[in-house]
């Protein structure tokens, strides 16, 4: 979509052929993610990084929906062009940025920088949903 990988293959073909592997990958991620959350639910739910990750996953879903809708509506006019129209490219770029931050946040969940049992600023306490005098979970 950005014109960097497979610029000479129709964009719709790439999107169509990679849909199923992408869904398989997402399903694996979703199931293993729920299992990981189930292991440490309270600490995860109160992690700032986990919360950002969840918001970004929702943003990814909305972006993917809009992206596919716009692509299907207009693909016949630019399918064989090396670069897609600007709004499609913006959607593709947003998708890359969102998923990159999802990976970063996923990694940062393991760190305890903003855990509730440490002395945090009122803002972090609010964002993480910390409770006064909370012990480590």
């Amino acid at each position: 979509m950005l014109g960097y990988a497979f610029p000479d293959v129709p964009a719709s073909k790439i999107a169509d052929r990679l849909n199923i592997p992408m869904l398989i990958g997402f399903t694996v991620m979703f199931v293993t993610g729920i299992l990981l959350f189930y292991a440490v639910p309270v600490r995860s739910a109160q992690s700032v990084w986990f919360r950002i990750k969840m918001i970004l996953l929702v943003a990814c879903a909305i972006n993917a929906y809009l992206f596919h809708k716009r692509m299907n509506e207009s693909v016949s006019s630019w399918d064989n062009e090396a670069r897609a129209p600007k709004r499609i490219r913006t959607g593709a770029m947003l998708s890359l940025v969102f998923w990159t931050i999802v990976v970063i946040c996923g990694r940062f969940i393991a760190y305890d920088w903003f855990d509730c049992d440490y002395d945090q600023s009122a803002f972090i306490d609010f964002v993480a949903g910390c409770i006064d005098g909370q012990a480590r979970f």
């Binding site: 497979f6 293959v9 052929r17 592997p21 940062f108």
Partner: protein, 194 residues
């Protein structure tokens, strides 16, 4: 051994022999002398600028670690797309050559990212990983993966794909997926060890 005896598979057989020798070396007592001699090198790694930054700023270490993961994700994507095409399960209506060549270019940069961030991370926790058997398993898997990719898979797929025995092609693709999966799995395992 003269290359002619090995026929067209010289490079493959030599690579397999090097990997087998490395495995044999690693899983026998022969490794102990080299292992002890490597300790000063790992101690030195911790004293480098990378080691200092990695140990002093947790956030810097974590950020580089996230970069390492992104590199791994991109590399994994290249392996899946390229080997999926060889297996005939992905992008089957896009020519082999196009998929393999494009994926290989991205693979190279993903590997460079992995190695660069990996060296930084290793410097930050050099003495910890020195004592972790799984770190050495990862290095073995990584070495095998790089050798396999550049000395077996790449020369093989440089030929006309249609002229290669489909079974060899599929076995190569499966081996490639497995070896890179092993690299990722042992890398994750390091995080749970020590």
């Amino acid at each position: 051994m003269p290359p002619a005896i090995l026929g067209p598979y010289t490079r493959t057989i030599l690579t397999a022999a090097i990997i087998a020798a490395a495995l044999g070396f690693s899983f026998t007592y022969a490794r102990l002398s080299v292992y002890t001699e490597l300790m000063p090198f790992f101690e030195w790694m911790e004293t480098t600028w990378f080691g200092y930054v990695g140990k002093t700023w947790g956030a810097a270490f974590a950020t580089i670690q996230a970069g390492h993961l992104i590199g791994l994700a991109v590399l994994g994507g290249c392996v899946i797309v390229s080997d999926g095409r060889l297996l005939g399960v992905l992008l089957t209506d896009v020519p082999h050559r196009k998929v393999i060549d494009r994926a290989d270019r991205v693979f190279f940069w993903a590997l460079i990212t992995l190695l660069a961030t990996g060296v930084f991370m290793a410097c930050g926790v050099a003495m910890k990983i020195y004592y972790l058997p799984v770190y050495w398993y990862k290095m073995l898997a990584l070495g095998a993966g790089i050798l396999f990719h550049y000395y077996v898979r790449r020369p093989l797929v440089a030929h006309e794909i249609e002229s290669i025995n489909p079974i060899i092609l599929k076995m190569t693709a499966i081996a490639s997926i497995l070896v890179w999966f092993l690299v990722a799995a042992t890398g994750r395992w390091i995080g749970f060890s020590g």
